[in-house]
């Protein structure tokens, strides 16, 4: 039976220690979550693991030992390691060993008890699979940490072995809170060991964001309170406010800013994305607006614009006049009714004349207005564009008026025509019955009606032509305004953060598909199907992303999956039981290929980042297919000086061991301990490199007792050794 060991890539070059993780017996896979370094006190290790087990409901345990040493470990070392197995009983006991600076790994599995099943194959192969913890955790494949009515201690069963791995890693966040640079009793190495130090700016920003958000949120609430006051609800202002797109845009932006600076944390990833996208769009907006501002205000462009505006308006008015003259003549060869033509034409010409005088009246103030409008660009490009759209609307107000007149006339004419047509045929519109009924008219009614009908009919082309022309003009203006609004909407709603994340860190966008979101109780559970594009066999990054936590019930019967009475595993909850609960159980563990990207397993060869990574691993003992070694651990940032750590209880030096080499566990002796003259050091000596730690052995102040009854043979169970801990890993003394 092949035993799969999932090993985090960040732990490839850490010092020796114990492997902490979870054993999944159904798939005979061991998921290593962290490496626990020497020295440690076994009882404290067990306490920590019990705490983690309780908090995260992941059955973490000590799985084995990890040995990263310079040369081949000696046989005594081997026995020592096996002796550790007696302190932390775990079945099977994994022993991974790597030569420092080499590429050869050795993996051994020892079973303490004889295999209960005689038919099981005797030889154990170990398959070592590397996974990137950071990517697995940062992708959102796992459920939130708090779930209602989960069952304590229940471990989910599934055939999807990799789903169990994801789930294990994702739920063990509690374990990742302390690392080897912390002042705790236990020193762990995991993905956070390298990551936490680097994000000092992010930490500062996070700390500062609290009060800043509070301040800005209160300011924004003040602004919105002012905006909601009753003055603005009265008729003229409310009407004007609803028509101007600038007000609309300002309101939008206010909403966005309120969302960004709200002091409530985002509950799930969708809200977080929304917040982040809003931030990105606001930033882009302001940046573009400031660019526009600097462009406008440089080299007196505003003056040029203002100077150019009035002639442009004049020009437009002239063109309109020419158009009307054309209409008043014989447009496109059509013969218009001369009298009506003249009336309408002169009416509209008079309007244009009014308009031009209005523009000329405004011309001295244009420059100031433009200057202030340009200043508004610092609120954002969208505000400036909305203002532009409003200005265009105001400047082309006459075209709007013409359109309204033409449309009204045309509308009246058409109504009249239809009604008189009905009269011509002897019918009438029955308002009560909402239908056309026959009706007997008098002769004079018929006469007048027919006369009017004829008049209206022959005047139709003229009115229709005016209507057509002005509607087209209006459409043109509306199209320009529509384009501007489209641009504004684009800036408002483009999810820049998600796009950037998709390009740079695609694994962070993994999320449950919509089919797996919380559903109402009455809806049937969704069927999960891969999209047809998958039939082509090409990689389907857009394939629906199945949550890794889902497949845990995959192998139960379908009936069992659909009932809500089934006992749920710890992390799933029946979708039927409550609205807003977690995704409904689904039939299978569909981890699509895309999901492997988040597995982040190291890749051989070049290629673009973030695409599904291949599995590199070893089959049984031997050469890894591709070991990607992580960077060496950065030197410790000196923490608080560190008083020398005293562990309690204080115990006296053992007499039995040579040179006071303080190793408690059944160590057969012959330890070439470090010279005990080395002064005890602080827990975190300033800037040790990763190599120095084992050399100094992390000597602690207190020493250990040796229980007098300690057996010297590994493999036997020890009495619980209180206050016993290992000072150093003997094999590394020579470093």
């Amino acid at each position: 039976m092949v035993l799969k060991a999932f090993f985090p890539t960040c732990c490839v070059s850490v010092d020796s220690g114990l492997l902490v993780g979870r054993w999944v017996p159904e798939h005979s896979s061991a998921v290593v979550l962290a490496v626990l370094h020497f020295p440690f006190i076994p009882i404290q290790v067990k306490q920590l693991l019990a705490q983690v087990r309780q908090a995260s409901e992941v059955g973490v345990a000590v799985l084995g030992t990890w040995c990263h040493c310079r040369q081949e470990p000696e046989e005594s070392l081997g026995r020592f390691l096996e002796g550790l197995g007696a302190v932390f009983p775990h079945e099977p006991w994994l022993q991974l060993c790597r030569e420092r600076g080499g590429t050869l790994w050795s993996c051994e599995v020892t079973h303490r008890q004889a295999p209960t099943d005689p038919s099981a194959p005797g030889e154990d192969q170990v398959m070592l699979i590397f996974y990137d913890q950071r990517q697995v955790l940062l992708s959102q494949l796992h459920p939130p940490t708090v779930l209602p009515d989960r069952q304590a201690g229940a471990t989910p069963a599934s055939t999807g072995g990799l789903a169990a791995v994801f789930d294990t890693v994702a739920r063990s966040e509690v374990l990742f809170r302390s690392d080897r640079f912390d002042e705790g009793p236990v020193r762990l190495s995991h993905w956070q060991s390298e990551g936490v130090e680097a994000s000092i700016l992010a930490e500062l920003a996070r700390r500062a964001s609290g009060p800043v958000c509070l301040l800005l949120a209160s300011l924004l609430s003040l602004v919105s309170a002012v905006g909601a006051c009753r003055v603005f609800k009265l008729w003229p202002l409310s009407f004007v406010g609803s028509k101007l797109s600038t007000c609309e845009q300002l309101r939008h932006r206010l909403e966005h800013l309120t969302l960004i600076f709200s002091t409530r944390k985002a509950e799930n990833s969708a809200q977080l994305m929304r917040k982040a996208n809003t931030v990105a769009s606001v930033l882009l907006d302001v940046a573009l607006g400031l660019t526009l501002l600097s462009w406008l205000h440089g080299r007196s462009r505003i003056g040029h614009l203002a100077d150019a505006l009035v002639p442009v308006a004049d020009h437009v008015a002239e063109e309109l006049q020419h158009l009307l003259q054309w209409l008043m003549g014989a447009p496109a060869g059509l013969k218009m009714n001369r009298a009506l033509d003249q009336v309408l034409g002169r009416f509209f010409l008079y309007h244009i004349h009014l308009w031009i005088s209005y523009i000329h009246l405004m011309s001295p103030f244009i420059e100031h207005i433009l200057w202030h409008v340009g200043l508004s660009a610092c609120l954002g490009l969208t505000v400036a564009l909305s203002l532009l759209s409003d200005i265009i609307a105001l400047l082309t107000f006459h075209i709007y008026c013409f359109y309204v007149y033409g449309a009204r006339l045309y509308c009246l004419k058409i109504h009249g025509l239809s009604s008189l047509w009905r009269l011509f045929r002897g019918k009438k519109w029955n308002v009560l019955r909402q239908r056309v009924d026959s009706c007997s008219y008098d002769l004079d009614q018929l006469f007048i009606g027919t006369l009017l009908f004829t008049i209206l009919l022959f005047l139709l082309p003229t009115t229709a032509l005016y209507y057509l022309v002005f509607t087209l003009l209006r459409l043109l203006v509306v199209a320009v305004q529509g384009l501007i609004h489209l641009l504004v909407d684009l800036i408002n709603s483009l999810p820049l953060y998600s796009l950037g994340l998709r390009l740079c860190r695609p694994y962070r966008l993994a999320d449950k598909p919509a089919a797996l979101q919380p559903r109402d109780a009455h809806l049937p559970p969704p069927q999960l199907w891969l999209p047809p594009q998958g039939l082509l066999g090409c990689s389907v990054p857009q394939a629906v992303l199945w949550g890794a936590h889902l497949p845990l019930e995959a192998e139960r019967g379908q009936a069992g999956l659909r009932t809500t009475a089934q006992p749920r595993p710890a992390l799933r909850q029946s979708g039927g039981s409550s609205a807003g609960s977690w995704p409904v159980l689904c039939g299978r563990p569909p981890i699509t290929p895309w999901a492997w990207r988040s597995l982040g397993v190291s890749r051989c060869g070049g290629g673009q980042p973030g695409w599904p990574c291949s599995i590199t691993g070893t089959a049984c003992l031997g050469t890894p297919l591709g070991v990607q070694s992580t960077a060496l651990c950065p030197p410790c940032v000196p923490r608080s000086g560190g008083p020398v750590h005293h562990s309690s209880p204080q115990v006296e030096r053992p007499a039995g061991l040579p040179g006071g080499s303080p190793v408690a566990l059944p160590w057969p002796g012959g330890v070439e301990g470090p010279s005990q003259d080395e002064p005890p050091r602080a827990r975190h000596p300033p800037a040790p490199s990763a190599k120095q730690h084992p050399a100094c052995g992390g000597l602690k102040q207190s020493l250990t007792p040796i229980p007098s009854s300690s057996p010297s043979r590994p493999g036997t169970s020890l009495p619980e050794p209180h206050g016993v801990y290992l000072l150093m890993f003997p094999g590394e003394v020579a470093l």
């Binding site: 999807g160 072995g161 082509l536 066999g537 569909p590 290929p593 291949s614 599995i615 089959a619």
Partner: protein
């Protein structure tokens, strides 16, 4: 243990199949496609440039020529990055899954992984492709609802398109592993 043989694809081009046996439960098959031939590249470039020159003589605008050069370059880069697949690999690890990797000529790699629990079987199917009937190897995936149904068919070696003899080699090895996997999974 490594092994390399040469086969041919359905159009007659030469393929190189490299088999690696890492262990009884882990095998890898690597198919290398014929490289981009200089002849076809020259032909396409000459066509594009002749067309551009023809346009230039019509319009007397030298921008057309530079545009043609850019188009050719960008087209070549795009082709190498998105279309031309150099090598296709199939990695089967018993008890873990099947992984298919395509590496493009520009170095880009795209990977698809299928978990072993989803794999029902690996078969050789026939298909009508243009005017030919070809054989292709495909992976059948299990249906969640129906225990004997098939949810999906995932073809393998889609750009290399090897012939039946190559497919049979791969098929035999895959079936050995699948049989081994079924045997170990049914035994407790």
């Amino acid at each position: 243990m490594e092994d390399e043989r040469s086969f041919s694809d359905i159009c007659g081009g030469r393929l190189a199949l490299q088999r690696r046996y890492y262990s009884p439960s882990c095998r890898e098959f690597c198919l290398r496609c014929p490289r981009l031939s200089l002849r076809s590249l020259t032909a396409v470039t000459c066509t594009v440039w002749l067309a551009a020159y023809g346009l230039f003589t019509l319009c007397e605008n030298s921008m057309i020529l530079s545009a043609a050069i850019f188009i050719t370059l960008l087209g070549l880069l795009g082709y190498l990055h998105f279309v031309k697949i150099d090598q296709e690999t199939l990695l089967i690890i018993d008890s873990l899954g099947i992984q298919m990797t395509s590496s493009y000529a520009s170095g880009k790699e795209s990977t698809t992984f299928i978990e072993m629990g989803k794999v029902k079987d690996i078969v050789i199917n026939e298909a009508i492709y243009m005017q030919k009937v070809i054989y292709y190897l495909c992976i059948l995936l299990k249906d969640p609802v129906e225990p004997h149904g098939i949810a999906q068919v995932v073809p393998v070696f889609q750009s290399a398109k090897p012939r039946l003899d190559c497919l049979i080699e791969v098929y035999r090895s895959c079936q050995e592993i699948l049989a081994h996997q079924k045997a170990t999974s049914t035994s407790p």
